[in-house]
Symmetry: C2
Subunit: 506 residues, 2 copies
């Protein structure tokens, strides 16, 4: 057991080190001795620092300690001891959450699943793989590749993010339009409740009996139970894929073309859109070969057998021609297809080159409203005095505005947050939602107040209590308290926004 329970320097948002905190830490360290080997419990600021944030680094908080269990029974042991001592627990996968889902709470234990990395079974006949939560997303496709199978959901972070985190956030990706989100590709999950009970949801059968808690658990942001085993659906690799690259003189026309493609009954494997500032940022970074004069760009992929792909590409091109497309090209080989994709896939690092910080927002709108919203966002850039690049999972109506700012400038941070909240509220106004695939986490708690009625939020809170009556498991994420929403309604009028939720237990 690491006995360095020493100095615990406060970071910007940390609670001050109190003797009560030190006492709690000592008691917890002692309690964990039987649950986890000593070297797998981290304390001390230098060890804890890598865990103080996730991929939304504007929120930082040192945890009380970090536990790195090796297996399910150690996870169970850690949860039982934390439950007994009333210590909040924050589960953590690859730490790639973009909404603060893995940001520690004050005086919490971070439960890292990083050591649960075993692939337990690949069954090519049933076309399933059973893995531990710490297995990286891309790894599943790697172990399935010898059977010409793969795992479909492909978040941009797929090299680093874990399947456990994907389950917690119901992660999406470039190909989710055709192949579904995480929730559509998971068959069964084993998880441990805050009380240390083993729960199993879903099954290898197509329909689970009783309540569909599998779908409820997927996307519950680690608030209900800690996942320890996951059975995913594998699908055959399509033999052929072709990418259509189209440019437009106007964002609204491009948005209409997206709605028309789907309206034709075509379900492309991917249907992505970028606006002019995003194209410029990406071209300067990866030289993908995009038309830099265009106001908007569409990437539309067809996959399947040769005949299917040829027919679908022809139909896509016909729709584009009817929508004043400026230029349209079809990938002639695999290298070209991958080069065109590389631009879209590198939009986030490209944005990172333009400013010290950016928010990657994540809202959804009906496809027909895409053009309208983009015009609104252009207006907001002036209001908030900040630049915004737009990349879209357009086929899903899922937008990712990238708001550029400097986090060291408190005023810029505030304006960036207000800009983001403003976009999400316009999404709700247009009949959409405040999150497409990144989850609510800390970032969008206030927007949940706008999205849902008090009765709906009370239902959410009641279900949270059903799983975790003591309110210890990632409890300040995902669902705002009624008090918070009342306060937000009040603050919102004056344009203010809480940078970090007050600790309000259920």
């Amino acid at each position: 057991m690491t006995t360095d329970a020493g100095s615990h320097h406060a970071s910007a948002l940390d609670t001050p080190p109190t003797s009560a905190g030190a006492q709690l830490r000592a008691r917890l360290l002692n309690a964990l001795q039987t649950a986890v080997p000593g070297c797998q419990v981290l304390t001390g600021e230098e060890n804890l620092a890598p865990y103080e944030t996730d991929a939304l680094p504007v929120y930082r908080q040192l945890p009380l300690m970090v536990a790195l269990p090796d297996d399910e029974s150690q996870v169970q042991g850690v949860l039982r001891e934390c439950r007994r001592l009333g210590v909040p627990v924050v589960p953590r996968g690859g730490g790639t959450s973009l909404s603060g889902g893995a940001t520690p709470m004050p005086n919490s234990l971070v439960l890292s699943l990083a050591r649960l990395t075993r692939v337990l079974e690949v069954d090519p006949l049933a076309r399933t793989a059973t893995v531990q939560p710490g297995v990286r997303n891309i790894r599943i496709s790697e172990v399935a590749a010898p059977y010409e199978l793969y795992y479909a959901p492909d978040p941009s972070s797929q090299i680093a993010c874990t399947i456990g985190g994907n389950v917690a956030e119901n992660a999406g990706g470039l190909h989710c339009l055709k192949y579904g989100l995480t929730v559509h590709n998971i068959l069964r999950v084993k998880a441990i409740s805050m009380d240390g009970e083993v729960l199993e949801f879903g099954s290898l059968a197509p329909d689970a009996p009783g309540l569909d808690l599998l779908a409820l658990l997927i996307g519950s942001e680690g608030m209900f139970a800690v996942v320890t085993e996951i059975t995913v659906r594998l699908i055959p690799k399509p033999p052929v894929a072709k990418l259509v690259l189209a440019s437009f003189d106007d964002v609204e026309t491009a948005g209409d073309a997206v709605a028309a493609i789907i309206g034709e009954g075509i379900i492309p494997a991917g249907l992505e859109m970028m606006d002019k500032p995003a194209i410029a940022a990406v071209e300067a970074f990866v030289h993908a070969g995009y038309d830099q004069e265009a106001a908007a760009l569409l990437l539309c992929e067809a996959d399947g057998n040769r005949e299917e792909v040829a027919e679908e590409v022809a139909r896509i091109c016909a729709v584009l021609q009817r929508h004043e497309v400026r230029d349209v090209q079809v990938s002639s080989n695999e290298a070209e297809r991958l080069k065109w994709w590389s631009g879209r896939k590198n939009a986030l690092p490209a944005a990172g080159r333009l400013a010290p910080d950016y928010f990657c927002m994540d809202g959804s709108i009906p496809r027909r409203a895409i053009g309208k919203l983009l015009k609104r966002i252009q207006g907001m850039e002036e209001v908030y005095g900040l630049q915004c690049l737009n990349v879209f999972h357009a086929g899903d109506g899922n937008l990712h505005p990238l708001i550029l700012f400097d986090g060291n400038d408190a005023d810029q941070l505030r304006r960036a947050e207000d800009f983001g909240a403003d976009i999400l509220e316009r999404c709700v106004e247009l009949g959409g939602t405040i999150t497409g695939e990144h989850g609510v986490g800390i970032e969008k708690l206030n927007s949940m107040c706008v999205q849902f009625t008090p009765a709906e939020r009370e239902t959410f809170l009641a279900i949270k209590r059903a799983f975790d009556p003591a309110g210890l498991l990632n409890a300040d994420k995902g669902i705002p308290t009624h008090a918070r929403c009342a306060e937000y309604g009040h603050m919102h009028v004056s344009g203010g926004r809480l940078p970090f939720p007050d600790i309000e237990r259920f």
Copy 2:
């Protein structure tokens, strides 16, 4: 208001008419005067009789009264008054439930959604339809037909069952292997809680923010809220469909062929199996042209464009040839395709001709276990002294054993129930589940004790309390109480089984 609150004759399983019951009825009738027009409240045995059972007629119970609201605000009014007076409510769609989901509870109000039959919108561009819950399943495809779209899930009862009931039970159908269950084809649901609160779940965006209560609501058997508006996904009609009809000398070989087809990466539009007794029953009834010498029959459909269908049929036939198929035919025209399907679709009425009653069981198993389970069921026929026909959604591993018996013979009824429970427990043993698509209802409450651990069942009960703290909404369905499971464990040893649940509130 119908003032006939008169004689309330007890049926076999009814509670005796008490003065307390009569008082409650009078008070409720009075309270409902402002909520629903009088002619839409039914009392008196002759009016209530059609509601005493659903399509599982072994369980019968007269309700206290039936309300037939016209719109959402009337539904809200009825629920509020029942909540205030503590009257249990049983929502009812088309009454085609096969697990007792719509069977009244003693002294309950049946809330029929039969008058909420409006199609609110068909949006061919977004490929959605928004309808009220009393709209029949087939009606949605009828109103979508002018746009060459349809609603995919097709339970055998699709002419009679309602979309509200489909949502409550997460209904499946012959084509769910490729096109998904109800849960995969619903985008948004509006519902009223037992407290009369309007709740809206899901959205037209691909991912809903916050908790995935849409999937939780779908299949919750009317225990959480009463659905008043549903937005379904519509899909384009495939231009071509061909049906492969294959016969086998052995059920295990047929089961292996099913697993091999799926293992090849083929996802047929339908993949159905029937055993010899089912073939005989069906042929005598509809003369579908099946091979009566065969031990098992497979129906395997390919749909899509012409090239896809030709390629898929060739691959299916190749797999069948490798699995000792006895005879294989491909439909040469639409009339032949529909004739072959008519046999499978009429399996239930065909069984109804052979005995006064039958249980249509509904379990799921991994596909590779199909042959093994069929052999076990053959053995059970002797143990219980009853005949069983087997029809399967084989591609899903979803079996529908039809156990024939005479419900007027108490011993036969008991043996049929034990036979059914035995099959379901073998399903669990083989890694499957106790329900594929018919729900738990009353019928499978005891089997839930076998399927789930006490911790899992406690989670279910806690979620039920989160939606309906007073335990009034279809409260004795779906989830067994701990007391019931304890008793079942005890009774089960001695082979007994409770024919109807004791009224145990949460």
